[in-house]
Symmetry: C2
Subunit: 161 residues, 2 copies
DNA sequence: ATATCTGCAAATCGTTTGCATTCGG
DNA sequence: CCGAATGCAAACGATTTGCAGATAT
C-alpha cells in the first residue's frame, strides 16, 4: 500500500468520524509510511525533528494511537519497553520472531497455527478478537556466533510465558 | 509445587550462585507462592505492607527479577502496562487467553501449536529459546453480555499484531 | 463561529538506580 | 570482617494529560 492511498484512506477515515484533517496528522502518516521497518514513536518523532517540523511529540503519540484504532498501524511489543509500529493496510496478518542477539524482527505466517488458535478459543467458549504470537531466539547469523546454541541446548531458563 | 519445596529450591539456587539467603528474599518467595493467580509487582508489594514488613519496593522488584532468572516465575505481559507473574516451578508450559471484558486470564496448552512453532523456527534457521502466545477476546460470560459478538462478527479493527 | 487540535510543560506510572547502611557467611 | 543486599529517595523513560492558544470546517 503506497503513501498516496494510505493518505487518502486516512483522510476518509478522519472525515467519517468528524475528526479534522490537519497538517500534523498527515505529516505523521507520511513519515510512518516512509519506512518499511518497524519503528517506535520516539523514532518517528526523530524524523519529525529532522524535517524541522513544529509537530510535537504529544501529537505524534496521539496520532499513532489514532492510526492504530483505524487499522492503519499495528503495535508490536518487542519487550524493550517501547512499542513498535508497522503498517498493516493491505498487508495480510503475520506473526513475529525477534532475535535476542541483534534485535532483528522476522515475519512469518502459518495457516495451521492460525486455525489451531481459533479451535482452542472455540473449545473454551472464548470469543477471539486477536492474538499475539512472538517467537524469541537467535537468527541464523547470531546463532552462528553463539556456539553453545547450535547443538540445540536451550539457554534461557524458561520457555515462553 | 508447594511453598516448602519452592523455598528449599530457591535457597539452593541462591547458594549455588554465591548469593545470600536473606529474610526479604524468602519473604518475597513466600508471598509469591501465597496465591495461585497472576500477580503484579505492586500487588506483591501491597502484601508486604499488609504484613507491616520493612521489605522495600525496590527489593520486591529486584527479587522478582531473580526469581524469573532462576526459572521460578514467568513474566506475563497483559498489556495493562505492568508485568504479571506466575509460578512455573513444577507447572508445564502453557499459553494464555486474556479476556478484554473482565481481565480474566485463561490458560491452555496445545501441543500441535508448540510443534508448529518449532517447525516454523527451523524453516527460518531461527534458534528458538522461547515464545509468547496470547489470545485476546472475550470469555464466555463476557461474550454473553456483548450481543454483537455472538454471531462471530469481529469488533476490533485489526486482528493480532 | 466554534469545536477540535496542537504545542508546551508538567504529570503519570511502573520500574530502576545511587548510595550510605545493614547484614549474611 | 567484608562484600553483598537492603532501604530510601531520587532518577528514569515511555507515554499521557491539562490548558491556553491556534486551526479546520
Amino acid at each position: 500500500m503506497n503513501v498516496e492511498t494510505a493518505r487518502r484512506r486516512f483522510e476518509a477515515y478522519l472525515r467519517e468520524r468528524g475528526l479534522r484533517v490537519t497538517r500534523p496528522r498527515m505529516e505523521i502518516l507520511e513519515l510512518a509510511w516512509s519506512t518499511h521497518r518497524h519503528f517506535s514513536a520516539e523514532e518517528l518523532w526523530g524524523w519529525v525533528r529532522e524535517r524541522s517540523s513544529t509537530t510535537s511529540r504529544a501529537t505524534v503519540y496521539r496520532t499513532l494511537a489514532l492510526l492504530v484504532e483505524g487499522g492503519f498501524l499495528a503495535p508490536l511489543d518487542d519487550r524493550s519497553g517501547q512499542m513498535l509500529y508497522e503498517h498493516i493496510l493491505g498487508h495480510s496478518h503475520h506473526d513475529h520472531m525477534i532475535c535476542l542477539g541483534c534485535g532483528r524482527i522476522l515475519e512469518f505466517r502459518n495457516e495451521a497455527i492460525e486455525e489451531l488458535q481459533e479451535e482452542v478459543a472455540r473449545e473454551h467458549g472464548f470469543h477471539l478478537t486477536g492474538h499475539t504470537l512472538t517467537l524469541e531466539g537467535y537468527c541464523r547469523s547470531c546463532a552462528r556466533r553463539r556456539p553453545g546454541l547450535l547443538e540445540g541446548g536451550r539457554e534461557e531458563a524458561a520457555g515462553g510465558s
